[in-house]
Symmetry: D3
Subunit: 337 residues, 6 copies
């Protein structure tokens, strides 16, 4: 089971120039064979299907816990796509007969506009849907871990190429972050195979052979040490990560670290309505008015209680929410020995 906390993994720049073609390319990182839905759902299904968990506990904990982080990666790619699509259609003064989507004809993924509301799709850069056939869950632990290492390698390749193709600031903030965090998972699975079999997969890093530290957008995350840390995304479970995730980082030689709590995350940005595609309505004010009425009727605070990066939370919001970020327990970083 999961608890959800309304934060994103890293801060993305606000919407500026829309980039529909860039957004179409970034879709590869959600719905491609090596996109984040694949990493997320591979590990999720492997954890669901894990047999003899007690016997193999450190490995079960590793797979189940990384699965949890991957949710946040899909969420982040979606946020990036949504941001890059914001503003692609006029937001006021345009009636349907003036063809507000005309400039998007033949541009990018047509489903961003014709099917969705300028939002992320579970599709790849070719507009083809993610499929369950991308999930590998053989049950054989060595094989599943080998697969996961290969999957993360393919994922790193894909991120690097999207980085090279799309230099929109939002895409760069996204890929810079994902390269660092995905790199940790790549190391984690290599280390798991090593710890299980003795095969020194660390010799394969970096794969592809581009040093992560050479990517400018990766550097801030490296500087704060995020390339070394495996966070524990659970209030109380998955306590044996450090049995597997340990030893020196293959690129820098620094010690890998298990952080005994989830990152606090960043407030998500509330992206503006795009009325030309009816998201959330032709007249967003109509929804807002009804929402306010329902809130009042239910005895809730007058303004919206949720916090977003680009707005004030309702004064009436519970104090504890601000003080005690999601999933945070007493911080305790465990450096492996």
């Amino acid at each position: 089971m999961i608890l959800r906390y309304d934060r994103v993994a890293t801060a993305l720049p606000p919407p500026t120039d829309p980039d529909p073609e860039g957004a179409a390319a970034v879709q590869e990182l959600i719905g491609g064979r090596f996109g984040e839905m694949s990493t997320w759902l591979n590990y999720t299904f492997q954890s669901f299907n894990f047999r003899d968990r007690q016997g193999a506990r450190p490995f079960y904990d590793l797979v189940a816990n990384i699965a949890a982080e991957e949710f946040g990666h899909v969420e982040l790619v979606a946020a990036a796509i949504n941001t890059m699509l914001t503003g692609a259609t006029p937001t006021n003064g345009k009636t349907p007969s003036r063809a507000p989507l005309k400039s998007l004809k033949g541009v990018g993924n047509p489903h961003h506009f014709l099917a969705g509301g300028q939002g992320a799709l579970p599709q790849n850069s070719q507009g083809r849907p993610w499929t369950g056939d991308y999930v590998f869950s053989s049950g054989d632990l060595v094989e599943d871990l080998t697969h996961n290492f290969f999957l993360e390698t393919g994922a790193r390749n894909g991120k690097l190429k999207v980085y090279e193709m799309v230099d929109h600031p939002v895409a760069r903030a996204l890929t810079g972050y994902l390269l660092v965090r995905g790199g940790v998972h790549q190391v984690a699975y290599a280390r798991a195979v090593e710890n299980l079999t003795g095969a020194n997969l660390m010799k394969l890093f970096p794969a592809p052979r581009i040093p992560t530290e050479k990517i400018p957008e990766c550097r801030p995350h490296i500087e704060r040490g995020d390339h070394l840390r495996l966070y524990r995304f659970s209030p109380n479970d998955y306590l044996e990560l450090s049995a597997v995730f340990n030893g020196p980082h293959p690129e820098t030689g620094e010690e890998l670290v298990v952080v005994d709590e989830a990152p606090a995350g960043e407030l998500p940005r509330d992206l503006p309505a795009q009325p030309a595609v009816f998201a959330p309505d032709v007249d967003p004010g109509w929804v807002a008015e009804i929402a306010a009425g329902l809130r009042k009727k239910a005895g809730l605070p007058k303004g919206p209680s949720g916090e977003v990066a680009n707005g004030k939370a309702n004064a009436g919001r519970r104090a504890s929410a601000a003080k005690k970020p999601a999933g945070r327990r007493k911080p305790r970083a465990t450096a492996s020995k």
Copy 2:
């Protein structure tokens, strides 16, 4: 972002007689067009793509929060399938040349055995994969909510039919639970449409027109009131559920209730290795021994720290874990008015 806690939504019976054909049918509830991956990922993507969240906050909170519960439903279906497949192959004394999978030739979903390790697949009852094309996320709030109501109706239909086809006790425990909880989501979306537009979708219940209370396996969940409750699956967010989820239950007339915390859940069962399909290995002891060594090396407690339903947790497990279940805050049930 999410936190994961290692509990399942309801207790399932232990493995007894395997039922590979039943397990193949139950796959419809994971990977079918109306299965739990569909409800889960529809709401998840809708929440990712939600624009003007502050204006439409109660609706955003509703969709995002139900998405979180749906994760637990996929997990539960997977647990049921894994349980039903346990024991389908001999667990000892059988060498490969004796054809330990022979009795499964032509039985059920061949990928349960030839591709997976007697585990759940992201496929439907025909062995076809779940696809991103099952996700509907138009951005138009009225339309997305209308879709969600229809989706839950289709999901209820599917659950009822699996219930009728598979009477294995694990499948019955599963469908009994899902019918009650899915029913709450069906009500929630109907109520959301009503609160937004005034259309009284409550007149459509039950849909299909089989009273839930007539299903014996549903009754325990109804008796403890679970047909009325929407849980908040978040430490601090999604606080406006009661603005939408309120009023009388369409079948019983009782008041709908928002529960201000997630359910504690049940300890998962640690299903035994199935060495004939190498899950987690031909020789599970090999993995366990290595795991124990790694735990020791990392300074972790000697035994496995994770708790499972069918085993003792390590004595050294942190006390707090047992005392403070996942995501539980001070309970506060808010009956809507």
Copy 3:
């Protein structure tokens, strides 16, 4: 545009012993690559896309008109499947908890029961959906006609094999009819290629090389001459069929004939409700009662006005309906010279 008349192409036996495995096999004739959806939609799209229709009028008329007949073939296969599935679930006295679908676990196409209401699906015998990729519409007339001849040949192969596999009386009545009528279309396209290019495709008959007249269930249709006739399925259009469809039948040497009207067809059978799958409801009487009330309110006759093979039409039904069957104009059989 089309007019629909509520008749089926030939009479099928009433439901007797259900045959879910047979019904699953018969699905190949709806949704297979060479099934009736393929013939229907290939010719339909080809007619939609036909350029220079006036110049190529006889060929346009041929393709457009055969497309119309193919609708009735899909309808007939669906009727056969529905009939063969009737009775596969108990129709009374069974509560859901008694598992009314249990005997169907692992039998036939699971979507007949878990997704549909014991009804036909747009899928093939493997449970895979028909796809638009089965449509070939190159625009090149010689090539499209060559394709159509090949498609009909593949379709004949498929019908023969379903005939050989499923000897349920409904399947046999179906395939017996389709072999004769599909054979006419096979001849029509071969003749079209001949008339356009001079290539004597008649030498390829029968293909596969099983004489149609040796199939007992084909004989009644042959005896009444249906293997020679191309009906005109239109009130006033497609008048140039005889320019292409003419000459001797390749198997019998008899003259091919264009019939200047559509066949009257047979009354469809009203198949009974299957409440275990909620078709049309758990309690069919509930629907019927509401329907009767709506009819009354609208000033319509008391009983149902539609005619079915197994019931009495409402006495108040318009007399003309019985007297003047669909699409029938003054009969005029035009034997080609």
Copy 4:
């Protein structure tokens, strides 16, 4: 069974500037999940599979009859795409080696040129094929009708967005017409659910919330009352439409009307050959000459007998064809009470 009459549902402008990218977008309205193939084939299969038709006659008649109209909608979208693609390749004086398709490299749907003959495809705006998985036919009447209402809502969304993206006059004439007629079907299914269950779905109109009357290209159809009329597309059947389709229109309050015959339709335009893609041949005159010879040999009139919007029918065409349009019986408009 069906009769086909060679008319299109509304008149489209003649080919002018080709718009391959627009045509690629319009494909969503044929082969998309919410395109016309989906509405058409959903209702068609639901009618094939309808059980206890006599008991539920008004609903059966409604579904079966709307299915018939939908054929004409697919036909109309195809005609629009064909028109928009006309002229995209040079029609004379260009040899293959001069690369007559060069300007289309990277433009629109490549299959319009590389696979088809500048014609419509059973694909969506991404070039992915329509699939049988888009058909929902549960057999449960309430659920199928709920689905159909949702499907029409999604279809209206798609039409509005194509309208906004493609302002080619042919696309606008198409979407203007479809929005009005699709709107009638949306109302019809909402009303069916209302009449069956009492749920007032009329409160959901318009959905999406853009008033149809604000669309300039819709107005002519509204002005002649086509937003209120359900036509009966059958010579003699489907007589109980008025039992369901009745009451006030949700947007205008006017009474809904059942028209007891099919519309006459408009003559289709005969689109010119596109020899660069061999449609119908590299040398269309070759086909025409052969066709004329075949007509003569068969004793048919000298010129083509079919009527098209942009040409003269053969003088020898049967007089009755002009006088008695397809499927027209004595007109009788039945206003519901």
Copy 5:
């Protein structure tokens, strides 16, 4: 480019008891994600796309050469399936109306009988087609080799499980052979990664962790040393295999060996006609008679010139064919140092 020689990689037993369900399972080894089409076409595309071949020559030669052997593996699986399906339908005295396929209704893959002629399909064990999405060809050498090692590991898993499920003698002969030869490819790619990066993947063997030598049907191949040999499948190319394929075998410690020619192979078995499915015809004698006539007319020897395992070749067959097996040059086994 390729030359084909009409031999199979190993001798299979003759047809005995047909095993349609076994044949359906064996399909996983042709068309599954980890089947032989996948290994074959992955390496084939990787070799087509290989850049800077001269710089990376030993690796190019390795991939291109293994691709060539894989053709023979697909061919062998097809031969096994064809053999296992032989005899599943009656071969004489059965007319179509006697339902010669009846016993196969609901058994195995329906396309073996309804679509094909009791022959192999490019489908997996679920009847789903092989797809180009199974091909991974990133161009990055380290990554492609890593992938190939993982692919071979998954392939070994699949072979082991088919071995365990299907004990038909033909399936066992097949899997026994493939396990040994696939194991060589698994070693080859592991060794390639090692030689390129230093990562000692040899520690991962056997994967899955079942010793090959414990499989009785593998032993004969091991005893003649086939687990150590990489054959060169080319008259004159791919000469640098030994630069990569060298060192000790990870399971036995013996030296790996490059054999400088292709194996001679075994004569294929000529499987008998299956007239019930028209393969090659309802009346195979009809084809044979025509073939004999064509041979005579062309001045070819009277009898068939091709050699098969179960028949005599034409006396007039060129002597050289028997003496000089395909692709054999002067044998030269190169043991790596």
Copy 6:
């Protein structure tokens, strides 16, 4: 089984201006329904599944042998695509952060850059994968041959259209060659049907009706007689081709000829590394250095032993390789009578 020889079927021009959109269009010739993978794998599977080969030997030999040639066609299309993509990304001086793929955003098939290494994909011009559903192998000889003729006709159509769309010199050299050789296969299957049934399919040529000799890029191949020749792609097998492939060419009237050996082929071009997509590495020199070391260690010649069109082979390469091209036996052209 096959032997592979490292030659391509015809010489292609060297890389000049890259043409990513052209390359995306050319993909139709690999992975489209009528592309070379389809011809290749259709004939390959048909040959695998061929029953009563001895009885039908000339037809078996024909199908099996043409399958072998088709491999070279897929290889050639891949070489063309690789060449056309060469240079699309900068090859030096560009760091990832400078966005070396930026100019390719929204251009052509995104998988050429994001998934692959500027290489060919098993996909069509829409970026959709080739699928096993494109294989037709009914086992019925007449039907399979009829299919093959139709398939080749569709393939010729596709080649002509790619020719018309893409005038890049590499694409023109490709299509000019394929039209001639594919034309031979089209004739071969037409002739096979004729020889088997008497149906004079030769009347259908050319299909589409564009004379091959009018294509400038086809003429050199016609002038050297390649439009008349069927090569035997085997050292010793498939000796009965002349029994079927004989008679006059349908377009020119010249005698068809069987050539009793495979063509020598042309040396392939070694396309340069594309480091921006890591093919074969970010730093190709790294691979080359390791390769040289491995060669040395294995006692192989110092330089690469393989020959390529654009480079010198190692002096130490075996002399025989240059003298005795692949698969060449004593040439013996057999003109049919």
